[in-house]
Symmetry: C2
Subunit: 231 residues, 2 copies
Amino acid sequence: MTRKVVGILGGMGPEATILLQKRLLQIVDAQDDADHLPLLIDMNPQVPSRIAHLIEGTGPSPAPVLIEMANRLEQAGATALAMPCNTAHHYLPEIVDHLTVPFLDMIALSVARVAQSAETGARIGFLASPAVQIGGVFDKALKQHGLTPAWPEQMDLLLSAIRDIKANGPTDRAAKILSDAASELEGKGAAQLIVACSEFSLTTSSLSASIPVIDTVDVLARAVRDHMIVS
Amino acid sequence: MTRKVVGILGGMGPEATILLQKRLLQIVDAQDDADHLPLLIDMNPQVPSRIAHLIEGTGPSPAPVLIEMANRLEQAGATALAMPCNTAHHYLPEIVDHLTVPFLDMIALSVARVAQSAETGARIGFLASPAVQIGGVFDKALKQHGLTPAWPEQMDLLLSAIRDIKANGPTDRAAKILSDAASELEGKGAAQLIVACSEFSLTTSSLSASIPVIDTVDVLARAVRDHMIVS
């Protein structure tokens, strides 16, 4: 039996990659080191900026670097790949063309999870980067499940919160922006919220909402675990 | 110029590997992702137990697995290697025989750091696993600098604290054991303390001592940074 190990395309940002590791530790019932699950992590904060490429149109596509990372992880023995960055999933179709191992698609998995308890036509609110919106990262998966996205009006505020967290870690200011956006989306009739920015995942402990909140990093952590334990 | 990236032999335990990543983030002045430093991490919690091999004499040597991890990281492009586990440094001489890139030796670096401000013959207190003591992990480096180790009497208590942290994360009980051991070592005339177990590094925020306390994980984080930024 081949040992299963998930390769992580990481560093976008480094805090988000650490968060995935921590969430994975939390969902494994371990009494000693050996009970935990192996990972091969390419922590590469130098992946070209997704924000610069998708929003500002000023930088190169990150796709070539992401393909290189994926190939290197596969060569090093990864039996599946994962990427704890929602925005980077915009480039997933280009990446998977170059792979023979499965990619644990955080976007498809998260929408499938939401769809389990959402009616057809339901509005799903997004707490995410404008790059996720502009890049249409969730559009295809939502359409497949007959779901409609709802976005906060002031996406520039969400971007400033992401920049704040990347520079200073989770701040009160960022938590407030996130919380206000959640209230706005509830007011717009969202049936559920998806936290689709791993910087925001760092602050969700302070987020309160009366509708279900799904964190894409949690969905990914479970998929990583299930690749190694269940399958 | 070749891109510098440090390869991490990790997973011993996973929390300690995460801690090194966090400490590295803290000592880099970053405004955005790209300011942070890249790592290649082999998170392998299935490395044979150092405690079973060195203390209990019941398990295989971890050396062959560590050599395999080191070679794989070098092949994947690592320009230096590091290992955030003090006990595993017992096997370092076997590992470096198989490498062409430098290994950032956490033990040698930590003792050199302590020696900067310790007089010849000074006693250095250790908060560590009995495996570190039995394996003589620090002996050579201490001797080179003319320093003498001091150990707590009840090393079995320290081992139980390590097992506690590996199973449950930092606990009050573990913090108390560590704090009592620190007081005992001060009483025995230690000039400085070395926290030489990465599980203990998780609890040092609650440790108070009137003598300098050096954490080996901090020393390693700085060496990792310096490999990529200074050299």
